[in-house]
Symmetry: C2
Subunit: 453 residues, 2 copies
């Protein structure tokens, strides 16, 4: 029974985050401005508090987790590492499958792991108000929760179509005291411009980011918070993999394959980077980042400087990208619809430390349904991509007769995404195939940007 | 930090359930037939498997939890006991407030604690198919999950109005392989009779129970499962309070006040009965069962023999009841809309071991919003009643300047009830006042039943 769930005590909870930048053989290219010149900390000072900018640019291997952050994370952490014995039986595989259960947080996903330190550092820096954007709603709810915890005001620009489709995510944010506004809105110049040109637009993450940044830089004591992509966000998420490593030590096992889905890259980085430290040190293992076939930046994008938003208000980051002009189809895994991949994850891919896999939506929902039935937890549509890849790996282990150890990240639960499951069960979902033609406009949107040197 | 969350290891998880029937000074009145004569085990044999009937009628103090049941419960148990430090600060109370977090189960409520052993015992008895009813949907989802785990077919009759209002609960049941049918249905004589008379009926729990029992007794290898009220269901839930007692021992504290909401009675019994054992043994404490003011069976009902369903297919049980003909208003706390209270809980109330409190809906939603903001967890509307009572107790402790220890049961989360919160936040909820006139039809429905001797 004890190999079915591996827990950690309070004293075993990590005391520092792991910064992979310290261990890359070749350094990452720096963020640059539109002129192609590297930017310094000051260029970000109106957008983020300086203590987080320092973290963003740090090359220290270990960064201490402040005690108030640990206390707040302790509400639901350390999270259990589960053996998916039911899934193994259903697949008839000799592989041992484990998953880290990040669905137990207040907002039901890994997002709280970074929302809490971000709110804490802003508070420490004297900030009283946070702005952000949200698409599917996980990040917006997580930041609302963290802001309330540390007594900060919070404003969330939510992509208009999601705002209408996901009233429950809105209610969660309101309960936690945040103001949630459909984007584009009349609150910002960026929003007003879009509304004037296209009053009926469904909105997009790119527009919402532009609005949230504009709001931050035009208000006193206000900063912007991002839920993925950036180095400090990936850093905060490494608590997932650090715990998982300790949990594997307890049962005297080591994973042969590490799997996580990747939208902006933070939950993948969170599970994978601490294991990558072992790989860099010489241990043999495969580490797989799984993206949606509808938004295939790692498998079909380019490695280039690109902006995080449509209006190009963010600095240019070195990443695998489909171009900020790329419009992904409306898959249920909203968290995987971002056009670019975190610079740290992109660099790990370039360096051959990790692999990328792209899986279409239907295979993911079938995998999720099998997992829900055999393990009793309904996964978030994003997490279902990690499960689909895990099933591929487990079936390969079966073919090869290998007793492989596989671990994946259950980045969140799907209790607020059950309408997607209903569509799947009713046979209403179809796969969308990206072609050269559908990918071209995105790639063209970055044709004239500075190149990675 | 360690006093903020008290955990138990696998080896500290209870190995036996506590049966309060062994410790009542006066025995409970027996269940009877419509003729007023006590019924024996055989009278229930078509409805429940004999191993559960034996549990239902047992007077043993401790009943061993079978190893496969413990293994299944271990997926999310032992659940943490949290100190609600944020709520204490928000109230400015000297009271120490704790809550047991039963929201971490697969279906998000305590219901799984009994669904799993019920599925297990049915499987052991050779049953291959389970039927049940569900109103709000927590019990239906929990039983679907447990049936899938033990390889049983499962059919859930869901009150028609809930079936339409809660498509997400339906999707959960389908994901776990159950067939969920709106009730009244054409699958049973009971359903067809109702449909013929009132084709547009919204359905009721009473009708759905009648359908589920008829289905069970007219199909081979099929039995019925109930999610509350009965002795064996309350028994299974005592794992909650047994864990909580161990957790309090770890921090060298004892609760002065124990609080839980009470619909059919099972989550209340689960937390309260193990503490009541201490009270029966002489320890001074208050134990409060909180009902909805819209369905006030303990505070305004009668103690009498009554049936569990409208069609009177169940035996007559001695309970505080508003009468099986009582139609409660459509409050969001669907789990508190049952007309009667578990015989064990009713007996404890008659014996003066516990108190009852009735709280209107709006006070509960206000309490829930304060809790969600200060503790980060959105409670189920049912659980919000326990929170509202806890807040009353904490404010009284403040008036009296007493450092009282209060524990309540967070019986479930409210992530699938966020539409209720939306109505609350939008100011659309109103309280409903029960009067002599509105309570009369229910009481009249039991006027001609046998009396408790």
């Amino acid at each position: 029974m004890s190999s079915r769930k591996i827990t950690l005590s309070e004293s075993e909870m990590p005391k520092a985050w792991y910064n992979i930048a310290a261990d890359f053989a070749r350094p990452m290219p720096p963020p640059v401005g539109k002129d192609g010149k590297p930017i310094g900390p000051d260029a970000l000072a109106r957008v983020f508090p300086m203590n987080l900018i320092e973290q963003e640019m740090s090359s220290e291997r270990w960064i201490e987790i402040p005690e108030p952050v640990r206390a707040a994370l302790y509400q639901w952490r350390p999270t259990p590492l589960h053996r998916a014995a039911g899934l193994e039986r259903a697949l008839g595989t000799p592989a041992k499958i484990f998953f880290k259960n990040e669905s137990l947080s207040p907002s039901g996903s890994h997002k709280n792991n970074s929302a809490i330190p971000q709110a804490y550092y802003n508070k420490q820096f004297g900030i009283t108000r946070l702005t952000t954007e949200t698409g599917a709603g996980q990040w917006g709810t997580a930041l609302s929760h963290a802001a309330r915890l540390f007594g900060l005001e919070c404003r969330v620009y939510m992509v208009r179509v999601s705002y209408r489709q996901k009233p429950m995510r809105q209610s969660l944010m309101r309960l936690w005291g945040a103001r949630c506004i459909p984007s584009p809105s009349t609150e910002t110049q960026a929003g007003r411009d879009v509304l004037a040109a296209t009053p009926d637009t469904p909105g997009s993450l790119g527009i919402a980011i532009s609005e949230a940044i504009e709001d931050a830089v035009t208000h006193d004591n206000t900063r912007y918070a991002l839920g993925s992509v950036l180095n400090h966000v990936c850093l905060h998420q490494t608590i997932i993999g650090l715990e998982a490593r300790e949990q594997f030590k307890k049962i005297n096992l080591r994973p042969d394959v590490v799997v996580a889905c990747a939208g902006g890259g933070s939950n993948f980085a969170g599970l994978a980077f601490p294991f990558l430290a072992d790989k860099i040190a010489g241990r043999d293992m495969r580490v797989v980042a799984v993206e949606s076939a509808s938004c295939p930046k790692m498998t079909r994008g380019v490695y280039a400087y690109d902006s995080g938003d449509v209006a190009m208000m963010t600095p240019l980051l070195p990443m695998f990208t489909l171009g900020h002009g790329f419009i992904p189809p409306g898959i249920h895994a909203g968290g995987l619809r971002f056009h670019g991949m975190a610079p740290t994850v992109s660099h790990a891919l370039r360096e051959g430390l990790i692999e990328a896999s792209a899986i279409p939506q239907l295979e993911c929902f079938r995998a999720a349904a099998l997992f829900a039935g055999s393990e009793g937890i309904v996964p978030a549509p994003e997490s279902s991509h990690a499960i689909a890849q895990t099933i591929r790996e487990a079936l390969r282990a079966k073919e090869e007769g290998r007793e492989r150890v596989i671990v994946f990240n259950l980045s969140g639960h799907g209790l607020l995404d059950l309408s997607g499951y209903q569509d799947f069960l009713d046979g209403k979902l179809e796969d969308f195939e990206q072609t050269e033609a559908t990918l071209r406009p995105g790639i063209e949107s970055i044709a004239n940007l500075p190149k990675i040197g």
